[in-house]
Subunit: 215 residues, 2 copies
Amino acid sequence: MSQSATRVHAELRGEILGGRCAPGARLREEEVAERFGVSRTPVREALRRLEADGLVVVTPRRGAEVVRWRDDDIAELVELRALLEGHAARRAAIGGDLDLVALGDLCTRMEAHAADVDGRAADEITRLNMELHRAVHRAAGRLLPDLLVRLIDVPVVRRTFHTYTEAELRRSFGQHRELVEALAAGDGDWAAAVMQAHIRAAGATLRSTRDPGGR
Amino acid sequence: MSQSATRVHAELRGEILGGRCAPGARLREEEVAERFGVSRTPVREALRRLEADGLVVVTPRRGAEVVRWRDDDIAELVELRALLEGHAARRAAIGGDLDLVALGDLCTRMEAHAADVDGRAADEITRLNMELHRAVHRAAGRLLPDLLVRLIDVPVVRRTFHTYTEAELRRSFGQHRELVEALAAGDGDWAAAVMQAHIRAAGATLRSTRDPGGR
DNA sequence: CTCCCCTGCTCTGTGTACAAGCTAAGGAAG
DNA sequence: CTTCCTTAGCTTGTACACAGAGCAGGGGAG
């Protein structure tokens, strides 16, 4: 949209996803405006877009505050991702036009970081992973990507790859390879199944990380 | 959020959904502002919210214009609704707490309008129908309703019940009754199947209306 | 001592003014 | 006659100012 508003939106988004903004923290317009060196107008627009992304909740006369995620929400989120991304994989395998070579390249680049998960590699893996998923979404339709925006980059996702064990990481990469293979074969059911497993496995890892003792 | 912005948003939303705004029509901020007797500020916010709803597309230096729906989009939309609403019905049947009496009451009130579809009844049926679906969505989770906002009240939906034959209308109402029965029985698969059929039947009616000769 | 009311402050909601960018139309040159 | 450049108009993007609604803190009364 605008220059400043877009920039503020992206910055705040990064801060929230990166955990640098505590859940429940209030985002006062003037404070944010001063911090970014702009007026309140673009800040207001940025906050509204964050609300549309589901990252903040804005109450009529109280302003915006960073959304709090409950455990129930996380579970529902994994469920919906599995459903929608599975559907996306099926559609992409059947009809979507996607660059299989580029997808394979993404896999290769992710696997190159398999050794050093502890360093900055996790961020890069997160980025590449998101790029791969997005490519599948785009191939699946026009409306689907916009729907998934509210689900894919939720706060917790940001930290996911940091907490992966090497075994989990290899499984994840293996599923990526299998997904590409299923897409290449044009097998919708296969692609959907792999994607569902992929998402649910990530969900399980996430759950064990946040709640080590089980439920 | 605000008073004026909320009002303008609701009004414009109604105009777009009601077909009083032609697809592709540009919505200039000052023009809208003058029409509603407010300044550009709340209008801007209303337009951004419409963008979040997927009802307008706003291009950086060109402003907002009413979204154009292609036939492909409609098909994808029905697909996604069937997927997500089916999921919602399953979740609602299994765990969600919903007022079954109230749902039955909604069915009764809809059926009362079965005779005169031609009059103002169609609008009332649309409203009641939406209320019933929303109740199921709410019972299914916290994130789901927000996702479905972008899908449920798309322009074409508005005109749906006007074009229903009496037979189609009866089938639709019958499916509502069956859905409530499945929900009462706590049978997730049953509820999901009925809902899927319900959505896809509506999609078929929609398709035959827009494209009488078939594909 | 406690509870209620009042007052002051803070923050959002809205109005308005200015600046920047895009589009299109008109004129001049090849 | 065609094409490119320039310029003018329109529309959005941003900054700033004011008004109104909550909320908190303090003071007074019971």
